[in-house]
Symmetry: C2
Subunit: 186 residues, 2 copies
Amino acid sequence: MTPARRRDSARSRELLLQAAVELFTERGFDRTTTREIGERAGVDPTLIARYYGGKTQLYVAAMEAEFGSAPPADLLDEDRLRMLLDGVLRRGPGPAYRVAVQPYDDPVVQDTARTQLHDRLVAPLTDHFTRSGLDRPRLRAELAVAAFVGVMLGRGSGAFDQLAEAGPDELLLLVRDLLGGVLPRS
Amino acid sequence: MTPARRRDSARSRELLLQAAVELFTERGFDRTTTREIGERAGVDPTLIARYYGGKTQLYVAAMEAEFGSAPPADLLDEDRLRMLLDGVLRRGPGPAYRVAVQPYDDPVVQDTARTQLHDRLVAPLTDHFTRSGLDRPRLRAELAVAAFVGVMLGRGSGAFDQLAEAGPDELLLLVRDLLGGVLPRS
DNA sequence: ATCTGAAGACATCAGCTGATGACATGACTC
DNA sequence: GAGTCATGTCATCAGCTGATGTCTTCAGAT
């Protein structure tokens, strides 16, 4: 974080975005208020409207920031899976994960989530399956990603005791095996 | 549906519950209003407070009604999986599925969802794994259920094109193989 | 030093939501 | 048929939420 001038719109924008990513990840869109975002960011919440246009557009920006410059990740590559899993365990499953599990009214939100998930997760898997000569590569990829999303969100839901407590190493092995289920048995 | 007397509290209760299950399934708790529930049920929405105590308690009732008298289902038993999948494809993943993927404020809602999911889905799988002599049977069961929930919710989210269009037969085979991933490779 | 526009703070609005209390109406008992 | 309680209806409230418009304040240019 830069030095902190008294007035710095770029910095305020960034603080709002960061707080939004955190809160949207923790509670989702509906249960997060613009006032909470402003409070956590230490920035007046009305600036959300000024800099982003509104709460909805901030959510879109949060989804785009969520993956950042991270490269697409093949969930069946153990190293890539480890990196992705580490990130999610540290920061939680971001805003796009939630849209993958509940439809939203705004088509822009929908499209952004679908695009992000597709580019980062579905497409690499689809390629993987295509190279392997499997039928329905795209469907298999979407299935695996949806399952992965379910597991990541399930960890923090309070509905699964042991899943919430499982450590990274153990989780990595189990998730790897689970996702391996979309491949034909050897 | 019974004959339809002019005044029948039991019937009104039931209509409200049915509408609630549908709407909570379609849009979740936050995006469903008591007025919508009343409208769909053809019943005055204030009766929700009278008969159930409030929207939250109605959600709890909806979760309990969701599984009805359905017996616990071992997701790794192909016949049971088919039955469960058919139900979800017809009626959608109910209120308890949503709680499995996002924490709720009310502890009663949390506990009800956890209990329902555990009794109906996690416990049978845990037994299955225990009988198979696998390590971490409970964790594996929770993982499989979370993945299943992710796939079911992902179908209706609009984020996965092919998953949304996949037919029951195709889906059954793929989900069966996916969940088989929690078993050691033969 | 002054001016000016950007950046931020503040008060406030309109809409929605769940809930409540008062009232009306019907059904059943005696 | 009078009385009584369950059932249903209606108006309304208080709180929250996102958004807007106005005013203040500061930084940098001239």
